[in-house]
């Protein structure tokens, strides 16, 4: 399995405060990988660095073998990385349909591309709300829309930051099921969330960040076997 995304010794800072201290991580095509850790440990910063929203101070990021660190966010987006950001950040002034259509693309010639219809079939709720302004959606619907919007770009790598944060249990479950389906279809995914138990079922491998450094990496089986790790790095 060749690495789709390869991060080495990534360092990122906001002004005078450094957040990442040499994060290394690799994701192979078709893999689902999680990024775990408590709040403020650098998960979102890692994701923002990958997407070009934050310029790294050191280290390298390769995607499909090409260096992408330091490139502009739109080039990285077109290269095939799509982000479902923390807090959804759907466009409140665009209709649901427009949120999806605006970014529809199949730049890499995926044989069975995501289209509006396919997203609607995937999230029937969005089809019902197609003509509603994004800002009027509930939290769960917004998350579906954010995922759908990312899928419309037919990305090689889908990144979800806080995939189920702030959602009601039933909605949360629906999001998980989506990830299951996407994984089954071969989509490469990097996901950040807190529900370790559920993530163990969804993902192949896990990475735990603590104060800007990778402190543990392993497979789902390994994480499942050692609940002590949860409590050390993730619990209260």
């Amino acid at each position: 399995m060749s690495a789709l995304l390869e991060i080495e010794a990534l360092e990122t800072a906001y002004g005078s405060s450094q957040v990442l201290f040499g994060v290394s991580l690799s994701i192979a095509a078709g893999e689902v990988v999680t990024l775990l850790g408590r709040n403020g440990m650098g998960k979102t910063t890692t994701v923002r660095s990958i997407c070009g929203l934050q310029t790294p101070r050191g280290g390298s990021i390769r995607f499909c073998g090409e260096r992408i660190d330091g490139q502009s966010a739109d080039r990285i987006g077109r290269a095939g990385i799509a982000l479902v950001p923390e807090g959804r950040q759907i466009f409140p002034n665009l209709l649901v349909r427009e949120n999806l259509l605006a970014f529809a693309a199949n730049r890499h010639g995926v044989p069975d591309p995501w289209t509006l219809d396919r997203v609607y079939a995937f999230f029937p709720r969005l089809a019902e709300r197609a003509g509603v302004l994004g800002g009027r959606l509930s939290g769960g619907e917004q998350q579906m829309l954010a995922i759908g919007r990312a899928l419309m770009t037919n990305p090689k790598l889908l990144i979800l930051d806080e995939a189920s944060e702030g959602l009601a249990p039933l909605v949360r479950e629906e999001i998980w099921r989506c990830l299951d389906t996407l994984r089954a279809s071969g989509q490469t995914i990097l996901v950040i969330d807190k529900y370790v138990e559920r993530l163990i079922a969804v993902a192949d491998r896990h990475t735990i960040l603590e104060r800007g450094q990778v402190v543990w990496q392993g497979t789902s089986a390994e994480l499942d076997a050692d609940h002590g790790i949860w409590h050390r790095y993730l619990g209260i």
Binding site: Y14, G15, S16, S17, Q18, V19, R38, N39, G40, E86, G87, P92, G135, R136, L137, S138, G139, E162, E165, G166, K194, Y195, V196, E197, R198, R211, W230, L234, G235, I236
Partner: protein
């Protein structure tokens, strides 16, 4: 902690929504004077919103906040500070182009009850030596004495967080709202900050919002857990640690 304590702050069913999303949903909370009360919860739970509502930066949509016997509903931010309610910021929020000492003197000078108002147009500030002396005292308390002449922007992140605390302290608050004082700090800096807060805890009541659980369990007398804009649990650290709901909220435990 057996002495009788009086209620300093009472938050009653406060709600705040942005568009269709509730950031605070009938949140209630009681703080007793003298305690360090930690507020924890996942991202987006409404912690910072609650701090904003308490400090007056955002108006609440519903509910009541009683501080030291005063209903805060219609009080502007600066009036709340005068009552003794001061806040720090999650993202460092200083006078970055000013010198460290001037940052603190600005904060000290704000106490109208001690110095009178600042509508003084002619007398040079350099004659207000009492204010400057007090500022030096405060800098000593947060161990920034040697850096008084630097610009705030030239300080390291950890030093800036300490300066932030000094600014809040300078207003001589009865209640200190500390919003993630350890955010973005390295390990050593965190330790220093914990020590500083521990030191302050003897003098002032605190509401501490923090993600660093080690720090929270070390510092807090009581902990409230905010999830989905609602306080789901409130109690002593051991009780919270064992609380089923809290574990679910934090770990997704399906036990």
């Amino acid at each position: 902690m057996s002495e009788r304590r009086t209620t300093l702050l009472e938050v009653r069913d406060v709600s705040k929504h942005f568009g269709g999303i509730y950031a605070l949903n009938e949140a209630s909370l009681v703080l007793e004077s003298g305690e360090v009360h930690a507020l924890i919860g996942p991202n987006g739970a409404g912690k910072t919103t609650l701090i904003h509502v308490l400090s007056g930066a955002l108006p609440a949509d519903a509910g009541q906040v009683i501080f030291d016997g005063n209903d805060l509903a219609r009080r502007a931010m600066h009036e709340r500070v005068a009552l003794g309610l001061a806040r720090s910021y999650q993202i460092t929020n200083l006078f970055s182009r000013l010198k460290v000492l001037d940052n603190v003197t600005m904060a000290v000078q704000s106490r109208v009850r001690d110095w009178g108002s600042s509508f003084s147009f002619w007398k040079p500030f350099s004659l207000d030596s009492a204010i400057v002396d007090e500022a030096h005292d405060l800098l000593a308390q947060v161990s920034l004495t040697g850096l008084a002449g630097r610009r705030a922007s030239q300080l390291s992140h950890g030093e800036q967080r300490c300066l932030e605390v000094a600014l809040v302290l300078a207003t001589k608050p009865k209640l200190l709202l500390l919003d993630e004082p350890m955010a973005g700090m390295g390990p050593e800096e965190s330790v220093r900050m914990v020590e500083l807060i521990e030191h302050l805890a003897r003098r002032v009541t605190m509401l501490l919002v923090e993600h660093d659980m080690d720090a929270v369990f070390r510092l807090a007398d009581r902990i409230s857990v905010l999830v989905g804009g609602r306080v789901i649990a409130s109690g002593e650290p051991a009780v919270i640690r064992a609380d089923h709901e809290v574990r679910r909220a934090y770990l997704g435990d399906a036990e």
